[in-house]
């Protein structure tokens, strides 16, 4: 079993979000980065599968050198080896194209991603990879078992669950319930020092989209208290100021 896991490097969820360059760039100053939590689930599940039935788990990250601590953590958690495509990752199409180029050349039985990055939340890479590689792509899975070259997966659908079976190779994206993330142990961290981390250059394609501007949600306003007996002024505010009635 040869598995590819896509790891994205995202801001820690407690980061304070600000922008620079006229609100077109995320300000990374003082921000800590982590492996995208959904991608970490994908990695953990991949390791569980290969620990049971043998095989290798390669991680791939599209990112500049500063993403390497997250990649090294993936190796410490247990990945066999890692690839970094040396380019900034902001555009889902561009990222998917880079991963597809590598995956096509190498050939994998299974490609796992997180259901979305918790930074830009586009949730497109798994679907795009399926299309680019001509493989089935199953989104937002909560379980995956593999037997005799067939993957059986569960996914949440509105009001219930769907059970899907699909022949390998395929692409699937991880949802929260897929497994529990692992904490790297000392042996893993020691082993990660010598595991291969290959850097490849991006393939030629241009980014297909550009950010025009980011906006933060408006700051929470104060609360205006109106006495219960004063319904008239409440109606006045809703009618004249907020204009919703």
């Amino acid at each position: 079993m040869k598995i590819l896991v896509c790891l994205s490097n995202v801001p820690d969820t407690t980061s304070k979000i600000t922008f620079t360059d006229n609100n077109t760039k995320f300000n990374t100053a003082g921000v800590q980065f982590i492996i995208n939590p959904y991608d970490e689930l994908a990695l953990t599940r991949a390791l569980e599968i290969t620990e049971k039935q043998g095989g290798t788990v390669t991680t791939i990250t599209v990112g500049l050198p500063e993403t390497e601590p997250s990649i090294r953590k993936g190796l410490a958690i247990g990945a066999t080896d890692a690839v970094r495509v040396n380019a900034e990752a902001t555009d889902a199409y561009f990222v998917a194209e880079q991963i597809a180029a590598y995956a096509k050349a190498e050939g994998f039985d299974l490609i796992l991603t997180g259901r979305e990055g918790i930074d830009y939340n586009s949730g497109q890479v798994a679907g795009l990879l399926g299309e680019m590689l001509g493989l089935p792509s199953v989104n937002v899975i909560t379980s995956i078992e593999i037997e005799n070259g067939i993957a059986t997966m569960e996914r949440d659908i509105d009001g219930g669950k769907e059970k899907v079976s699909c022949k390998l190779p395929l692409v699937a994206s991880a949802q929260k319930e897929l497994t529990e993330p692992r904490i790297p142990n000392m042996r893993g961290i020691m082993a990660a020092r010598t595991k291969p981390l290959k850097v490849v250059e991006a393939t030629g394609s241009e980014k297909t989209s550009a950010t025009v501007a980011f906006d933060l949600p408006p700051a929470k306003g104060g609360v205006k208290l109106i006495a219960p007996e004063d319904a008239a002024s409440l109606i006045g505010i809703l009618h004249n100021d907020i204009k919703i009635i």
Binding site: R72, K73, A76, I183, N185, M186, I189, R193
Partner: protein
């Protein structure tokens, strides 16, 4: 910092994040930071939810031993060829800091195993002893304790009366005496014991549980380090094989070398306790409203917080520098004494001020502060008391001993 562990377990109450006022993280390697985050994630997942209950009940959480071994808490600074971490001294310090951030008792268990049991076996043991004990100690399959202090010999260990003599069969020695205030003793599989031979020279000797005449009664009713097991070691004509004697050291230098390593870990650990108290008090003071505004806005509370972060920052830098000297093999025992004394003292002061800021809530088990404060009363005493460390500095700078 919020990794996947917290992203998927958002309801957990342990909100700790370490203060880093002088951007000290920039002095650490990526591997240091990965190890710190891994230990912290483990602590938050497996220890924080149970630690208060364990302390209240004063029961040692045996199930945490495997977790401690997995995160590398047992001898991370010793070589990989003996099944240890092969990491540097800063890594060792970071691990002790993350553990003591949770509880000094947990850190004590790890300190004893790594610095007082594994370290002397590594430093003074034969190759056979190293291969026999170190890999199992690193994995937590064997737990150890360290016997130096006696009922009548605390700050003056040279006066010890525990002794051994030749058994007459050429294969064994007979050990007699008693040791007191021994962390891990009630459950330890082995004890590294310091005792005098027939010539009155201090030697290290590995005593194994099950040897006839060797008992480890537990010390009960401690108000401090309630998550760590403490006891005595009693030797009543214990027959110990001669191959259990550590061959490469003689005299007080042996135990003192081990204490240097442990004290170094304590100097990092104590800052962990201080940072947890500060972090808790800072968060509480911003949320607690009195007179219509957060108490963090009042000058007397700001004074406490500002002094805490100042002292913590100074200690962080002092200790990091000591770590570099340790890595280079240049740290002196007196430098380690200064760091241990300074950092435990500041941690006690921070815990007391933080306790005041939380008012009545500060004395409850809802918050970690009072537990830290009570723990630190042991930490300020063991591994060289606050006063003795001062006299070590005094002796170092004047060249005159005030002990004798």
């Amino acid at each position: 910092m919020n990794t996947s562990q917290e992203f998927f377990h958002a309801n957990k109450p342990d909100l700790y994040n370490h203060p880093d006022y002088y951007l000290m993280d920039e002095l650490l390697t990526e591997e240091h930071k990965l190890i710190r985050q891994s230990v912290r994630d483990w602590v938050k997942k497996d220890l924080s939810p149970i630690i208060e209950d364990v302390a209240q009940k004063a029961t040692f959480p045996m199930h945490m031993i495997k977790g401690l071994a997995d995160v590398g808490a047992f001898g991370p600074q010793l070589p990989a060829e003996y099944g240890c971490g092969g990491m540097d001294y800063i890594t060792y310090g970071i691990i002790m800091q993350e553990l003591e951030r949770c509880d000094s008792g947990v850190r004590s268990t790890a300190s004893v195993q790594g610095s007082l049991v594994m370290y002397p076996i590594y430093k003074f043991g034969s190759e056979e002893q190293k291969h026999k004990y170190l890999p199992k100690l690193a994995k937590g399959e064997l737990m150890g304790c360290f016997g130096l202090t006696e009922p009548n010999h605390g700050s003056n260990p040279a006066g010890m009366t525990t002794n051994f003599r030749d058994a007459g069969d050429g294969k064994h020695v007979i050990l007699n005496g008693a040791k007191m205030w021994i962390s891990n003793s009630p459950f330890a599989d082995i004890a590294v014991v310091w005792a005098k031979n027939e010539q009155g020279k201090i030697k290290g000797i590995i005593v194994e549980r099950g040897m006839e005449g060797f008992t480890t009664p537990e010390t009960h009713n401690k108000w401090s380090l309630r998550t760590s097991a403490t006891g005595e070691l009693v030797f009543n004509d214990v027959k110990v094989p001669v191959e259990n004697i550590l061959p490469s050291v003689e005299g007080l230098k042996g135990p003192l070398t081990c204490l240097n390593s442990a004290r170094y870990g304590i100097s990092w650990g104590a800052i962990g306790a201080a940072m947890d108290c500060y972090d808790t008090a800072l968060r509480y003071s911003k949320e607690r409203i009195q007179f219509g505004r957060p108490i963090a806005g009042f000058q007397l509370q700001q004074k406490k917080l500002a002094e805490m972060i100042t002292e913590i920052t100074k200690a962080q830098l002092l200790t990091w520098r000591l770590g570099v000297l340790m890595n280079e093999g240049r740290a002196t025992p007196a430098q380690i004494s200064m760091a241990k004394r300074n950092n435990v003292d500041l941690a006690l002061n921070v815990s007391r001020n933080a306790r005041q800021m939380l008012g009545g809530m500060g004395i409850t088990g809802e918050y970690s502060i009072m537990r830290h404060m009570m723990n630190l009363e042991s930490v300020v005493t063991y591994e060289g008391t606050h006063d003795i460390h001062l006299l070590i500095t005094g002796m170092d700078i004047t060249g005159i001993s005030a002990f004798e």
